[in-house]
């Protein structure tokens, strides 16, 4: 089920018929080149759903609280994993990695797109996208 929490930005992700999240890219109508997030220029870029699964391309762990601004997260900080995930043969997207013990992170892990609640310093919740471990297949 889509979560009722407001998204952190419009147009980043959507949900398919089964309620599963997917990211939205922008396909250049002339060159076919796809980027994420989709640029705002809808005359030039067509919104396209990106593959829901892929492989971990690289990763790191953010061990210290990033500076604010620009970081808008809560004052209390827990280290989080960040990575690039290659979605099918379409694109490599950067995002938070959730639900994976840091010591088990490795390149090529199978991954899937999920949504994740992000708590702002103001205490408000926003929905953002993240990547979680997918089953090996």
């Amino acid at each position: 089920m889509p979560d009722p929490i407001a998204p952190i930005a419009a147009g980043l992700f959507a949900f398919d018929a089964d309620g599963q999240p997917l990211l939205l890219g922008g396909r250049d109508r002339v060159t076919g080149h796809i980027t994420f997030p989709a640029p705002a220029d809808e005359e030039r870029f067509e919104i396209v759903p990106l593959p829901r699964t892929g492989r971990l391309w690289s990763w790191t762990v953010q061990r210290f609280r990033p500076k604010s601004p620009p970081y808008a997260g809560a004052e209390t900080f827990e280290p989080f994993a960040v990575g690039y995930v290659q979605l099918g043969d379409t694109i490599i997207v950067e995002g938070r990695l959730v639900g994976i013990p840091f010591e088990t992170l490795r390149i090529d892990l199978p991954m899937r797109v999920v949504t994740e609640s992000f708590v702002l310093a103001t205490g408000e919740n926003r929905m953002t996208y993240a990547f979680a471990r997918a089953s090996d297949r």
Binding site: I8, A9, L12, G25, H33, T35, F36, P37, W57, S58, W59, T60, V61, Q62, R63, F64, P66, K67, P69, P70, Y71, A72, G73, F80, V82, G83, Y84, Q86, D89, T90, I91, I92, V93, E94, G95, R96, F102, R106, I107, F118, L120, T128
Partner: protein, 381 residues
Amino acid sequence: MSDVFIIGAGIHPFGRTPSRSGLQQGVYAVRAALAASGLAWRDIQFAFGGSDSAGNADTMVSELGLTGLQFINVANGCATGGSAMLGASSTIKSGEFDLGIAIGFDKHPRGAFDPKPADWGLPDWYGDTGLMLTTQFFAMKIQRYMAAHGISRQTLAAVAEKAYANGALADHAWRREPVDAATILASQMVSDPLTKFMLCSPAEGAVALIFASEQRARALGLPGVRLRAAAVRSRPAGSFEVFSPSLDVARGRSPTMLASQAAFAMAGVGPEEIDVAQLQDTEAGAEIMHIAENGFCADGEQEAWIAEGRTRIDGRLPVNTDGGCLACGEPIGASGLRQVYENYMQLRGLAGARQVPGEPRLGYSHVYGAPGVSAVAIIER
């Protein structure tokens, strides 16, 4: 078209100098360069100068003298110093002037840089959710490189250990204490696989280089080094750069590869002829990757190179002989010119305790930064 010579060099020590603004450090470097070459400010016909966050270079004339010279401010991120040098070189080659100066200086607050998403054409959520950190990019680039090319964490530590050992020998360096590999590996993890001692910090400092035509250099009787090549290149399609929410699956070359190949072609020399190199080492992994991106070895050969000590001051290709960004810190506007300063000192035999043995003839310098720009210079004694 005249060949271009560097006939004088001055530096303000890197690190932190609370008593001097960035501009004052720039003035200090200019005066040091003038003193080293026996020239006066009124002799200087033109200047290119810049900083990233320490003010307008041309305001230095109120300290240096209101001579009416042509003074052009340069703002090109991490390639600010390289761009100032390119401007000076092109001006002399064109015959417009025959004696000028390039100045780079900076002074940043403590801690990681705090960029604003809109300045980089990015949406706010990217910064809001904690993805807009240069350290994450560097960590993820070396993480993938290590997996693909068999580079160990021990090698990362060895690069940082060399940097601090070299910095201890360099008067202008910020970190002057050696740090051993075990301490580097055990220090606080910042962004896996990079620990605190594997990452450079923003800092302060200034460098000034005096350029002259060959004829003018001879007339002045000043021993100089010849600028064989200066190239600045931006990123090609498929390069991996800082602050990228997405990447193309088809991977491409890097701005460093483009600048390096252009510089080698201009100079008419190959990587195997270089005697000393200063390569962008924002973190230990960057030095490792840049050895290959600049054409000095194939991907993965660095593991053996570094184990054999090839990049040490007494090795076959000494790299970052003043400790690089790891030991000097990274004042953005000054960092690229520091590398050329260091090569100038090495080629002139003035590098003291850190002097590369065997009278090095060709020096190579490479600066790289966001959002995908590289500047390479090759100088010859």
